[in-house]
């Protein structure tokens, strides 16, 4: 939606990521081509240096696919991704290997993101050696430094992941990502699998590291509260498209897409009062193999009109880089301010 600014670390233009459904041997022999599924369907945005862009949406919205595409794990079917001005191309493994010194990822599930057959020290040491981050003789010391950085003691290096708690594993995952000294991190639901008391520790750690190391972050999450806590900017995805993007504060105070509003209303509050209302958003996210016409949100939208069913909505600029892809974005923002706006901020 925005042109790549010089300050942008990551720029994404009209990105499309498609998957092919697997074929039977009969189809293979007959040469029938596989069905294609658009997980990311024409997305453009940038991430500025030292910025944390939050990316939210329901499962199936394509946010994880988008995050992985940024790291070249999936091939872009259309559009382009640049990192520090250099194109990310999944098929160019050698190019990518060089770029990966600067971009890394942390995964959701701390139970599966570490190789169970390797000790923490082996996992981290392998990264250091493979990318020649430091001299071979300094690997042990560097591992200890990394562990310390994420708040673990150096003697953890001898342990296998099975001997660590979820929070400790997530710290190791973070250390592994940081081992190559990247300046850009994709955090894919990094605290979703953690208990709240541990989640808070990790969130604080992430904040500290971001400030200390000057990291640029794409923070993928489904929990709005966590995203709000971490992000400076926010992008909301629905069925492969970004429906609203802008400064986090702006969106939280004046969400201008009915979907963003629905998401925010659906979050349970820490208010000890038995709620008396119906669900905000009805139904499920449609299958990406059967995308609705016009605005793809219209079947679930409380404001949907004929126009929404017929035409793809334009991107409406709402000032300060706040944009929403809705025919009635301004009306939606006004309605929000009138009904529940006061309660939110």
């Amino acid at each position: 939606m925005t042109r790549a600014a010089p300050a942008a670390v990551v720029a994404v233009e009209d990105l499309v990521v498609e998957f092919r459904a697997s074929r039977s041997i009969a189809a293979l022999l007959r040469g029938i081509s596989a069905r294609r599924l658009r997980a990311v369907d024409g997305v453009s945005f940038t991430i500025a240096r030292h910025e944390t862009l939050g990316l939210v949406g329901e499962s199936g919205s394509g946010k994880t696919t988008l995050g992985r595409a940024l790291l070249g794990l999936y091939r872009a079917s259309e559009g382009r991704i640049t990192f520090e001005g250099a194109p990310i191309r999944a098929q160019k493994t050698r190019e990518l290997r060089a770029l990966r010194q600067h971009m890394q990822m942390v995964f959701q599930d701390p139970y599966s993101s570490l190789n169970p057959r390797m000790t923490v020290g082996q996992t981290l040491g392998e990264v250091l050696r493979f990318h020649a981050v430091c001299a071979k003789s300094e690997v042990v010391a560097e591992v200890a430094k990394l562990l310390e950085l994420v708040g673990l003691s150096a003697d953890m290096a001898a342990r296998y992941p099975s001997a660590l708690s979820g929070g400790q594993r997530q710290r190791v995952g973070l250390a592994r990502a940081l081992a190559v000294r990247p300046n850009f991190l994709v955090l894919d639901e990094p605290v979703a699998a953690l208990d709240v008391s541990i989640q808070a520790q990790i969130l604080n750690l992430l904040q500290d590291l971001r400030d200390e190391l000057g990291l640029t972050i794409l923070f993928i999450a489904h929990e709005l509260s966590v995203v709000r806590h971490m992000s400076t900017r926010l992008a909301v995805m629905y069925l492969g498209k970004i429906v609203e993007i802008g400064a986090a504060d702006a969106i939280f105070s004046a969400p201008s897409h009915p979907y963003t509003q629905g998401l925010m209303k659906a979050v349970p509050r820490l208010i000890p009062e038995r709620r008396h209302r119906e669900a905000v958003l009805k139904g499920d996210v449609p299958s990406p193999l059967a995308v609705p016409s016009g605005c793809r949100f219209h079947p679930r939208c409380p404001m949907a009109r004929d126009l929404c069913r017929a035409e793809t909505p334009p991107v409406v600029a709402l000032g300060d880089g706040h944009e929403a892809a809705c025919h009635f974005a301004e009306e939606a923002a006004r309605t929000w301010a009138a009904t529940s706006g006061g309660a939110t901020v």
Binding site: S22, L28, R68, R100, S112, S113, R176
Partner: protein, 290 residues
């Protein structure tokens, strides 16, 4: 690959002073198999007689201090033959277990990781191979190639790798989607490193556990084939062949088939116990704490 297997096994055994934590089954199994292997290695020392020498004045002697297991119908010392038989049975058993395993696991892992046409074709090959009864297939192949150890290697290999390929592929399909595999990719590791260094140690457990049972079955298979005259040829002291030779003498010289038969049973038991122990240990590693 073998180095990895060894590494994996040693990790499973947790050699770093953890023998005390082995289960009882594991200890008993390792002791039995260890003793048998040692006896095989030092066969020239352990065996009191030349296992091939026929002394026609000493035929069909019952077990005694001179001949611990007695003598057979052509006057050979049975104990010496059983001891030398270890070399044949365990060596052949090992080769027809682990060579197919190496190939099967590698192919299965590659198919599971890459998927696509290669995987589809491989799966159909596996389905076809598994549709035939294992033993019948092997007997048919040996009938075509002729009897003898080398043809057993070929015949068993042609059939046995499929089981490992299936196991490894299934495990790889699970493992492929785990985040640590993705993490290895984001770290820019080459695909071969990801498959063989990262995935393999995690997918090979089931194959190792299976291989122990397979090893037992393969020793029995070799004995069975030799029993049918399709395996190791006379006068080599193969256990199954010895049982076959002794079968006609079961009433008046029970020791000829009974004692080599016991050697088969003992070896099988030892290997099974190790298999049980291994599956417990390797299984534990994946258990999450309650």
């Amino acid at each position: 690959m073998t180095a990895l297997t060894a590494r994996s096994i040693s990790a499973a055994f947790a050699v770093r002073g953890e023998i005390g934590r082995w289960s009882v089954t594991m200890k008993v199994g390792v002791s039995i198999v260890g003793l048998i292997v040692l006896a095989g290695i030092f066969a020239p020392v352990v065996a009191p007689y030349n296992p091939y020498f026929q002394d026609y004045d000493q035929v069909l002697l019952p077990p005694s201090w001179d001949h611990l297991f007695g003598t057979d119908m052509v006057g050979r010392d049975l104990f010496s033959r059983v001891i030398y038989g270890i070399r044949i049975d365990l060596t052949v058993g090992f080769i027809i277990t682990y060579v197919p395993m190496i190939y099967g696991v590698a192919l299965g892992a590659l198919a599971g990781y890459f998927g696509g046409t290669f995987d589809v074709v491989l799966m159909r090959v596996l389905d076809t191979a598994i549709a035939f009864p294992f033993l019948v297939l092997i007997i048919v192949i040996i009938a075509i190639l002729g009897p003898g150890v080398h043809n057993i290697y070929i015949a068993v290999f042609l059939v046995a790798w499929t089981m490992y390929a299936r196991l490894a592929r299934a495990e790889m399909l699970v493992e492929r989607n785990k985040d640590y595999m993705l993490a290895a990719r984001t770290l820019g590791y080459p695909t071969s490193r990801i498959i063989f260094r990262h995935a393999l140690p995690n997918i090979i457990n089931s194959s190792i556990v299976f291989s122990m049972a397979d090893f037992v079955l393969n020793v029995l298979l070799l004995s069975g084939l030799s029993f049918l005259g399709l395996g190791v040829q006379p006068p080599e002291p193969e256990w199954g062949a010895m049982v076959a030779e002794g079968r006609d003498f079961i009433f008046d010289a029970w020791w000829i088939c009974t004692l080599p038969g016991l050697a088969i049973v003992l070896t099988g038991t030892g290997l099974s116990l190790i298999g049980d122990g291994l599956s417990q240990r390797l299984g534990q590693r994946h258990q999450t704490i309650l």
